[in-house]
């Protein structure tokens, strides 16, 4: 972005401004499933404050959210529900798979669990841990911010055409 000398106008590519706006207030949809949900709530609470990223509003309705943090193990019964919530979110949307169970099935490898939520929805960031510390989740969110700023969404649209 460039600045003009007098008057203080900030010029820049419109795309970059949009990317910056998108990453600065990602609103997560409430999708806490199991133990990782408690750590997600802890990262939204006062010590690990997600509000500094503009993310403290966990929207109940997926239609108002642009980030889905899948926090916890996804069972066979929950999988269609997860896909339905993902489909209801409007573009642009991103998914963080939080925890080992959401990323790859975690500690459990049996009939009852989906071995990784990427079997159902496309995932942008995987945060390992059982459960990941709130700092790890925030690190994952910040990496997602970098991805968005680097123009990931336009790349995805271009690739999918």
């Amino acid at each position: 972005m460039s600045e003009s000398h007098k008057g203080g106008l900030l010029l820049g590519s419109f795309d970059k401004v949009v990317d910056w706006a998108r990453r600065s207030s990602l609103w997560p949809a409430t999708f806490g499933l199991a133990c990782c949900a408690i750590e997600m709530m802890a990262s939204g609470a006062s010590r690990f404050d997600l509000s500094r990223f503009g993310m403290e509003v966990f929207r109940a309705s997926p239609r108002q959210a642009d980030l889905m943090i899948v926090a916890g193990r996804v069972s066979q019964k929950m999988a269609p529900v997860l896909r339905q919530i993902y489909d209801q979110m409007p573009e642009p949307k991103w998914v963080i798979s939080m925890g080992a169970c959401a990323s790859c099935g975690g500690v459990f490898n049996n009939y009852a669990l989906i071995q990784g939520v990427d079997q159902i929805v496309p995932v942008d960031i995987y945060v390992p841990g059982c459960p990941p510390r709130p700092e790890m989740l925030i690190d994952g969110i910040m990496k997602l911010h970098e991805k968005i700023l680097a123009g990931e969404y336009r790349h995805r649209l271009a690739v999918s055409k």
Partner: protein, 163 residues
């Protein structure tokens, strides 16, 4: 074995002679196996005059190689003494079935649904016997010993799961 446990066994024997057989028990536990034909009658007595008005737990066990194959375990609690009693009910048949105790201890509702879902045991007289943990259209009963655990092979590691 403590006096209270011995007294309980004596009382059961005097009221329902030959119905309850004492299994091996640990320490102070009273574990009895009940004759299926007289279980409901005994259960009604246990829940009222017997003092065991609270059903703490109802679980099922699959003894694959034994006959009968399944067993339902009832853990009863007497609040006033306090005292615990474990009653084991052998279940056979195809599909395995036994009478429901929801009329005696209403808390058994969810427990029996879980035993049905996980083991396929049908409880006669249950108000709403359908699957509770697995999806409704699931086939098979996961906790049976002949149902595989369903491990997914670990990709790129050339290892079979369980290693």
């Amino acid at each position: 074995m403590s006096k209270a446990s011995a007294a309980l066994i004596a009382r059961l024997e005097s009221k329902f002679a030959g119905v309850f057989a004492l299994s091996a028990s640990l320490g102070d536990d009273v574990i009895v196996t009940v004759d299926p034909s007289r279980w409901i009658e005994a259960a009604k007595w246990l829940s009222t005059e017997g003092g065991f008005g609270f059903l703490s737990n109802l679980s099922a066990v699959d003894w694959l190689t034994r006959e009968p194959r399944f067993e339902i375990v009832y853990n009863l609690t007497n609040f006033s003494l306090p005292q615990r009693l474990m009653v084991k009910l052998p279940v056979d048949g195809n599909p395995p079935s036994c009478p429901s105790v929801t009329a005696i201890w209403p808390t058994a509702n969810f427990h029996e649904r879980e035993a049905f879902d996980m083991f396929g045991i049908v409880f006669d007289g249950h108000p709403n016997l359908e699957r509770i943990l697995m999806p409704d259209e699931w086939e098979g009963h996961p906790l049976r010993k002949d149902y595989a655990i369903g491990k997914v092979p670990i990709e790129f590691k050339h290892l079979s799961p369980g290693v």
